[in-house]
């Protein structure tokens, strides 16, 4: 049973995957459609040709790349399904399940020291250069000339909020209620951030996201979904934030604002154990969202790794799909040929599982704040970097405020409270 029953989760279109039809739901991500079809394996990895599949299911890890409609290296977790979409696996000869170049992984079982590979004589070296060039590179250049992108929309806002999770929603709401014209942007196709994962009882309900979007519009602002900020620059007194819009032919949005509020949340950090890259190992939040929104049933036996409310939450969601669920505090190694088949737990206990949900500490998504000049401090739990912030999310950079999980490890309710304070402070700026 790859999906939960019910009309909400019924497939309504067919995409083409390596020449074979795969049933999908229009609008759901290609990565989820592949998982629902039992295809955790998407491609082979760049150097060792190890099996690769989706991990974060949220656009940050880039493990789920495939050629989509003739364009290489597309994040399948970000591409929505539509009838006739063509998906091809990459970096495999002849196919992802049977890749002869997987031999590289075994040939260099302890790693390939490319710096000192075949430096004995010039003939060997020239061969190494020629051969490795042919092996390198993932995907092949797209065939045609891409159509011209439309001119950017260059727009000024009184405030820009990046991230539509609890902190960003609360900030945008506070600003909009004060009459500010706000741009509330999120890279995902829906607002809510981690509220969409329904992993924790704290915090506002997901339905609140729609209310915020209405408040934002009422104040003359915009909620821009599928818009990813790819930098932060300054233009005189204003910040200049360019957003890449999802989908071919969508214009870049150049947002100019004196008030920038970053509520960018976190990135999934992979767990560390042998074969931690096997398809079938997922970040808890990304997987939870696919369970809830797409009715995905990723397999039969799941292992939940990690402690705390999110691991309990994802365990409950997995159990609700009818899967057998077990929790573990530590995993020594994963096993499996083309996807996860089992895990060795601490103490040597070995169990069979086809799905692993990792609910370990996530890393603050602080890159935009760092580009804007904010300073960061170590988050020892994840190894990532929190943005340093004072009262109201002030960063020390004029006009730049931050809130939510990018500042501290907070639950959704705390993130919303911090976002509201930052939004109110930004209004007064």
């Amino acid at each position: 049973m790859p999906r939960l029953p019910g009309p909400r989760f019924a497939t309504d279109c067919t995409i083409d995957v390596d020449g074979r039809p795969v049933a999908a739901r229009t609008g759901e991500s290609v990565a989820v459609a592949l998982l629902a079809a039992g295809r955790a394996l998407i491609a082979r990895s760049s150097k060792y040709h190890r099996p690769r599949g989706a991990f974060c299911l949220a656009g940050s890890c880039h493990a789920c790349l495939a050629r989509v409609d003739g364009v290489p290296n597309q994040r399948t977790c970000r591409v929505p399904c539509r009838p006739g979409l063509s998906v091809e696996s990459q970096n495999a000869l002849p196919s992802a399940p049977h890749d002869v170049l997987g031999a590289v992984d075994h040939l260099y079982a302890h790693g390939l020291d490319h710096h000192h590979l075949m430096t004995w004589n010039s003939l060997a070296n020239r061969a190494a250069v020629a051969f490795s060039r042919r092996l390198a590179g993932t995907g092949t250049l797209a065939g045609g000339t891409p159509s011209r992108s439309p001119p950017p929309s260059d727009e000024r806002f009184e405030a820009v909020v990046v991230g539509g999770g609890p902190a960003g929603l609360a900030a945008a709401e506070a600003l909009a209620r004060s009459g500010r014209r706000v741009l509330l942007a999120d890279a995902e196709p829906a607002l809510g951030g981690r509220l969409r994962c329904t992993l924790s009882r704290e915090g506002p309900p997901l339905s609140w996201a729609a209310e915020v979007a209405r408040s934002v519009s009422a104040a003359g602002g915009t909620a821009a979904l599928g818009h990813t900020a790819f930098g932060v620059w300054r233009d005189g007194e204003c910040f200049l934030v360019p957003f890449r819009a999802e989908g071919p032919g969508a214009p870049i949005l150049l947002a100019r604002t004196p008030r920038l509020l970053l509520a960018t949340g976190t990135w999934a950090v992979p767990p560390l154990f042998a074969r931690n890259d096997l398809p079938g190992i997922f970040a808890a939040r990304g997987l939870a969202r696919a369970l809830v929104e797409d009715g995905l049933v990723p397999g039969e036996r799941a292992l939940v790794l990690g402690a705390g409310p999110e691991s309990e939450g994802v365990g409950a969601l997995l159990a609700r799909t009818g899967m057998e669920v077990r929790a573990a505090g530590q995993v020594e190694a994963a096993h499996g040929a083309l996807r996860l088949e089992g895990a060795t737990l601490a103490g040597g206990d070995r169990m069979a599982c086809d799905t692993l949900a990792f609910a370990g500490p996530r890393a603050p998504a602080s890159d935009l704040a760092r580009l804007a000049g904010a300073s960061v401090s170590l988050d020892p739990a994840s190894g990532g970097w929190f943005v340093r912030a004072g009262a109201g999310g002030a960063t020390g950079v004029t006009g730049l405020r931050v809130a939510g999980e990018v500042v501290a490890r907070v639950n959704a309710a705390e993130a919303a409270a911090a976002g509201r304070l930052a939004g109110e402070a930004a209004h007064a700026d």
Binding site: R50, A63, N73, T119, G139, T140, I252, L371
Partner: protein, 496 residues
């Protein structure tokens, strides 16, 4: 079943074991670990691996200052060249973002230098770029190993680690051609001679000329090239299409093609020179900044650093774009003008581009790296003088417009990272060599944007001269007093 690897960076397939060996081999700070292992250089740009490698480095004993997150570089999410080409560069600001490494931890727990500062040395070289390290290596193999190289950051922090890796013989003056030919020969042998791969690939250089004036510029070089045995030819747009089918042939009138020019991967040159020099007794000290000089009469006697004093018989200024600043500490004025040059890299694809392509009209250049990325840059005539290594949105737009006009199919490629380095520009585009200000203060700077490709040949000649051989004429012709004497001859085949 895949082998029992634990992956830290799934984009570039970097294992935990590889991070540990890099650290054990002396690549302690995160910027060096990134360069040595390749982690964080793939499409996700460290979103998944940064936290894992930070934890691991701290566990291995790295100082907090060594584990500061690697330099923030736009774009924060991959974006296609076609989308970027829709931006109008003239409407974009010149302000930059990112570009510098290190935060507050670097002040209190700074990165650990690679060794103790000795009290004295025969030769102290300021600058651990390819010039300084190449010179140290070439001195060492001539028996002069009482040499100390002082580098203010990690290896590859400066222009040597920031350039596009082009190596060409297509120059306009006999001297430059002679040096470039020797460099090319040394690059070809580097991997075997120095025991580290530099991925030298002679895919040729293709210079595109869009106007009659540019064609004339290419044709003027031809007899000089022929006289020096170069295989340069002027070819038609159709012939150029046979070499790079993705070009838009309507955009240029002719091209200069030399099949022997090529590209290298710059970083390992520094590791190769440094490790072979160290094996012969040279001391390469990273994270050591020169703060002043002591002198007696016409001689420098010692250098002052943020870690103490070191006496020297000879001081070499090989600080690249910082040479002017370093010379000024000794009260010596150099005419060098450091000027930012921006560059970027795209996602990788299977090999499709053989040569390095350059468009004379706008200074665009791009090539495909060994890993399959398109690496390219483009000079900006409006760039002011100054040391600045942040990145602009304006460059993304300018570059995207230029490359998608030149090779339209590149529009679907996504830019994953942009950065900048500083050209070390001189009034006549030729280097500053020989003594300046003091008889034992030797200059090795002013190589504009081609210092990397010239370094193997120039450092060999300089070491020969410093060990008592008859100096090559460049050490007399390119002294700093040529500008006062009025006999500077301009090199005008600068790109980027």
């Amino acid at each position: 079943m895949p082998t029992e690897k634990t992956l830290v960076c799934a984009c570039e397939d970097v294992t935990l074991e590889e991070v540990r060996s890099a650290f054990a081999a002396g690549h302690r700070d995160i910027e060096s670990v990134k360069r040595y292992t390749g982690l964080g250089t793939g499409p996700c740009q460290g979103k998944s691996c940064l936290a894992l490698v930070t934890s691991e480095l701290l566990r291995l004993g790295a100082a907090p200052g060594e584990a500061e997150p690697f330099t923030a570089r736009p774009p924060a999410d991959p974006v296609t060249l076609a989308a970027l080409a829709s931006l109008d560069p003239s409407a974009l600001p010149r302000q930059s973002a990112g570009g510098s490494w290190g935060g507050s931890a670097a002040d209190s727990f700074p990165p650990r230098p690679s060794g103790a500062l000795p009290e004295r040395a025969r030769v102290v070289i300021v600058g651990g770029g390819i010039m300084g390290l190449g010179l140290a290596y070439n001195l060492a193999i001539r028996g002069l190993s009482d040499v100390v190289v002082l580098e203010r950051g990690y290896l590859n922090a400066g222009a040597s680690g920031r350039n596009g890796g082009g190596v060409r013989t297509q120059w306009s003056t006999p001297t430059m051609i002679r040096l470039a030919k020797r460099s090319l020969e040394l690059c070809r042998r580097f991997a075997v001679d120095m025991g580290v791969n530099v991925w030298m690939r002679q895919g040729g250089y293709l210079f595109l000329a869009a106007t009659a004036a540019q064609v004339a510029r290419l044709e003027k070089n031809l007899p000089v090239h022929e006289a020096h045995g170069l295989r340069t030819r002027i070819i038609t747009p159709d012939e150029a299409l046979e070499i790079v089918p993705q070009l838009d042939a309507s955009r240029f009138l002719a091209a200069a093609w030399n099949p022997d020019d090529g590209v290298v991967f710059p970083w390992p040159f520094l590791w190769g020179y440094a490790s072979r020099a160290q094996a012969r007794g040279v001391r390469v000290l990273t994270f050591t900044r020169v703060t002043g000089f002591e002198s007696t009469g016409r001689r420098l006697t010692a250098l002052l650093t943020d870690r103490g004093r070191i006496a020297a018989d000879v001081v070499v200024n090989a600080a690249g774009a910082w040479s002017k600043e370093v010379a000024a500490l000794a009260g010596v004025a150099l005419p060098n003008r450091p000027t930012r040059h921006e560059i970027l890299v795209t996602e990788s694809t299977k090999p499709w581009l053989g040569p390095l392509v350059s468009v004379l009209e706008d200074g665009l250049y791009f090539s495909q790296s060994q890993r399959g990325e398109i690496v390219g840059g483009m000079g900006d005539p409006a760039e002011p003088e100054g040391i600045e290594m942040g990145s602009t949105l304006r460059f993304l737009a300018r570059f995207a417009r230029a490359i998608t006009a030149c090779a339209p199919r590149t529009g679907s490629l996504r830019v994953v990272r942009q950065w900048a380095g500083c050209y070390d520009v001189t009034p006549d585009n030729n280097p500053i060599l020989g003594p300046a200000g003091f008889e034992n203060f030797l200059q090795l700077s002013g190589f504009v944007g081609h210092g990397f490709m010239m370094a193997p040949a120039v450092t060999e000649l300089m070491a020969a001269w410093m060990s008592g051989e008859i100096p090559d004429p460049i050490f007399e012709r390119f002294t700093v007093d040529r500008f006062a004497r009025g006999n500077a001859v301009r090199e005008d085949f600068i790109i980027g």
